[in-house]
Each structure stands twice: as C-alpha cells, then as structure tokens.
C-alpha cells in the first residue's frame, strides 16, 4: 500500500474534523475489509485513514424502550448476529450479517461499512432498507438523518459527503407481526458475492393479511433498488401463490442487471423473481410466528456459546 496517515480519534467531532481537513483524501475505516483491499490494489489512494473504532458511540448497540435499535457504524457483524434483541426483532438483518464473508471477515466487517462502501451487491443494504433503517450522519455543521433505501447513488457512490461520518444505523421500532427476510444466490455455499439478492419485509394484521411490505433487490442494478410494485402486489393478500407470483414478476420487471463474471442479465432477472418470492414467503412466515432459519443458522457457532 502507498503511504498514508493513520489517526484514531476518540470522538465523532474529532473524526469529522480529521475528514474535513482533507476532503476526498481521507476516509473513515471501521473493519477495513473493503477499504484496505481497495488501498492494496490501488483502486483508491488516500492521504489519511481515520480509524473510527475508538469512538464509543460507534461501538454501541442501543435498544430503545420502544423496540427500535441503534447500531453503531463500527459494530462488527458478529456482534449483530449474536445480539438477542436484533435476533428477536430483526431476523432479516441477522440473515445478512451472517453471510457477509466468513468468520474472520465477520469479526471485523460492519453494517456501516457495507453501507458506505456502496457496492450494488452489499448484502446488508436490502435488509436494512426494507425495515426503514435510517443512516445517522455527522458533519461539520451537525447531524442529519437519511433513509438507507436512498443512501447509495451508484456503484461505490453514496450521499455521504467527504466531510461526513456515518455514526449509526437506526432501526425504527418494528410494528406488531412484522419481520424481514434476506436471501441471495451464490454458486458456493458461503464466502461469495451475491449474483442477486432480495430483502423483503412485511407487516400483518391480526387476521394474517399483509398490511405493509417492502422489497429491495441487490446486485441487479447500479445500486440496491426498491420494488414498490412487488410490495403493492403482496399488500392486501395472505401471501397466496398468485400474489407471490405477481410480486416475483414485478421484481423481474424492475431489475436492471448487467452481465459479468458472476452472472448474466437473464440469470439475474430470473433470480430477482425467485428470490423475491422466497424472501416474501419467508418474511410472511416469520410474521406469522413460524421459524424460518437464515442461510447458515443451523451451523452457525455463536461467540457466546460455551460447552
């Protein structure tokens, strides 16, 4: 890697000042699992790396009295999928956090970094977006909040200014009987980048009818994309096969995939439909109180496990 300065500030204010001093030439680092790779291969050069792991607020998971949860931008994936309140309230986010890289990557990589890296294939972005997650951003003139669903603006591009820092991701309190589910397709069983992915979220009324829904696709457009027509297709139904099929068709119509080494346009469009159908069915089942395991749930070994 080329030379750069390394600083580890202890507060959000210091971090913002350190970023603002070198606009575009400084970048925040949490787990470093994307940033250091980019620096190594020369895809990015920096004058300054601002390590944000020394800032207490960015390392916190705060559970609000209303059931909403704020996840600090530097919290690594293993703390997300081992956190009882996140597991209980936001299983779709657990689905994503447990498939980002392998165990060693999950020890460092963060949801905040996944979001700021802005890759179209970022596995956590659809799961966050469908539950209405909000990015808490600090800048020189104070703080602002921005919906995760609109955070990414292009491959590797986000709404984050060069002098701004992602502080946390705020998950609003989930309505009753509401859950999410995330699925991706990869040719291996694990340790791969999504050919396509789909995050779905639904809320049911007491009779089991879908009253609200969101679907966000990964890896089939320059950014994660929301599919409002898929949500419309499922709202007012109980998730019957015809409704799931209509949502699937809406996702296929919305996908704008490219052909690359991971998959063709046609395959990705097909996968958008299949994954949307399955993710919605999984979210509905969870909202009904059924247990729908995540991709690796059966053989995930928890850090807290003792024998």
């Amino acid at each position: 890697m080329d030379d750069f300065e390394y600083v580890r500030p202890g507060s959000v204010g210091e971090a913002v000042a350190l970023l603002a001093e070198k606009p575009g030439r400084a970048r925040a680092m949490a787990g470093g699992t994307d940033l250091l790779v980019q620096l190594k291969v020369g895809r990015r050069t920096l004058d300054r790396v601002v390590d944000v792991k020394g800032i207490a607020e960015l390392n916190e998971i705060h559970v609000g009295s209303d059931g909403g949860i704020t996840i600090g931008a530097a919290v690594p994936c293993h703390r997300v999928y081992d956190h009882p309140a996140i597991v209980a309230g936001f299983p779709g986010i657990v689905d994503s956090a447990s498939i980002v890289g392998g165990i060693a990557i999950q020890g460092r990589a963060t949801l905040g970094g996944n979001l700021c890296n802005g890759a179209p294939s970022g596995d956590s972005i659809p799961s966050l977006a469908v539950v209405g997650a909000v990015a808490v951003i600090a800048g020189p003139s104070g703080r602002r909040e921005f919906p995760v669903s609109e955070f990414c603006t292009g491959p590797g591009q986000t709404v984050l200014g060069a002098d701004e820092l992602l502080v946390a991701i705020r998950l609003p309190a989930p309505p009753p009987r509401s859950f999410g589910h995330y699925l991706r397709f990869i040719p291996r069983n694990e340790m791969d980048i999504a050919v396509a992915g789909a995050g779905a979220w639904v809320a049911l009324d007491e009779a089991g009818v879908v009253t609200a829904a969101r679907v966000v696709l990964a890896s089939v457009a320059p950014t994660p994309i929301e599919v409002p027509d898929a949500a419309t297709a499922i709202i007012g139904t109980r998730g019957e096969a015809t409704a799931l099929e209509a949502a699937s068709e809406a996702a296929k119509a919305a996908a704008r995939p490219i052909t690359d080494m991971r998959g063709t346009q046609a395959q990705r469009r097909h996968l958008s439909g299949v994954l949307t159908k399955r993710a919605l069915a999984g979210a509905i089942a969870r909202a009904r109180g059924e247990h729908v395991p995540g991709a690796h749930e059966a053989h995930r070994v928890h850090a807290s496990a003792t024998h």
Partner: protein
C-alpha cells in the same frame, strides 16, 4: 483526544501482547498486521496467501476474535492481545489440532495449515464437539488447494475427540 496520531511520525510505536508476551514494535501506518508479524517481529508462522481476505492463511486471533491479519493494520494492534500459530502449542508439545493434522495427513504443502489450525482452535473454544457441517462452515474462509478439505475436517473432529473424549 486523538488516541493514535500518525500525522507527523512515519512510524508508530505499537505496544501489544502477542502470544502472551508484551511486545513493542515500530510500524508504518501502511503496514498490515501480517507484514508486521512476519517482517518486523519475525513471526513467520503466519502465512500470506491472497492478501485480500479470501483465503485465511494469515488468520490470527485478535482480542478474542478470529481476523485476517492481512486486513488489519499493524498500528491497529496497539493495546491488543494477539495469538498467532506460534502461540497455539504448549511449551514442549503440540496442540491436539497439530497432532491430529499430522495423524490425518491434513496437509501437503502446508501454506494454509497455520491459518486452519488457528481458525479451528477458535471453533473448538466455542464448540467443543462440532459437527462436520459446523466445521466446514466455520472453516469456509480458509482455502486449501492440496487436501480437498476432507482430511482437514477429519483432523478437527479427531482433535475435538482428543480434547473432550466421548463418555
């Protein structure tokens, strides 16, 4: 206050605990922990494979978590406790994983072996009797191009049995 400030110095003094011993070394901000271990501290048991977090050959334990040392900066080790392959075996002996890897012939060229043993040792700390699926999932971030993995999985199963024999 800015806890670590490498704006003026080209090298930073890093104090860490490595394999239970207090260690002090000089690191450039751009040097990875892997480079510091191998080139500065001469702990060459940790191997460089892909250098981008895909292969797990450089895995070490940092503050109780398995990490790819190629994706950690050396300066980030300040204040951390790190275990490398050199810290796995007891004095004068082998860790059961090392014995089992030898007995099962779970290595050929050996480049991936330190990473597999460090990774597997972290699995066995959390799950004394892992299933084959659990072993394969935990070790998915470690690549081996010689063995086809089967012997490695058998070695980890054997090590688990050696540490906690079935009643």
């Amino acid at each position: 206050m800015v806890a670590v400030d490498a704006r003026t110095a080209t090298k930073v003094v890093v104090q860490a605990t490595i394999n239970g011993e207090p260690v002090q070394f000089l690191a450039e901000p751009r040097q990875t922990l892997l480079e510091c271990l191998r080139d500065v501290l001469s702990l060459t048991g940790t191997k460089e494979g892909c250098a981008d977090g895909n292969c797990g050959a450089c895995n070490v334990v940092m503050d109780g978590r398995l990490v790819n040392s190629c994706l950690v900066l050396g300066v980030e080790a300040a204040g951390a406790s790190i275990t490398t392959i050199e810290g796995i075996a007891p004095v004068g002996g082998l860790h059961p994983l090392q014995t089992a890897f030898l007995e099962q012939a779970a290595l050929q060229c050996g480049i991936c072996t330190p990473g597999f043993i460090v990774s597997a040792s972290e699995l066995l700390k959390r799950n004394a009797r892992p299933t084959e699926d659990e072993i394969r999932f935990w070790l998915a971030g470690n690549l081996c191009r010689c063995t086809g993995y089967d012997k490695i999985v058998r070695a980890v199963l054997q090590a688990a049995e050696m540490i906690h024999p079935a009643a």
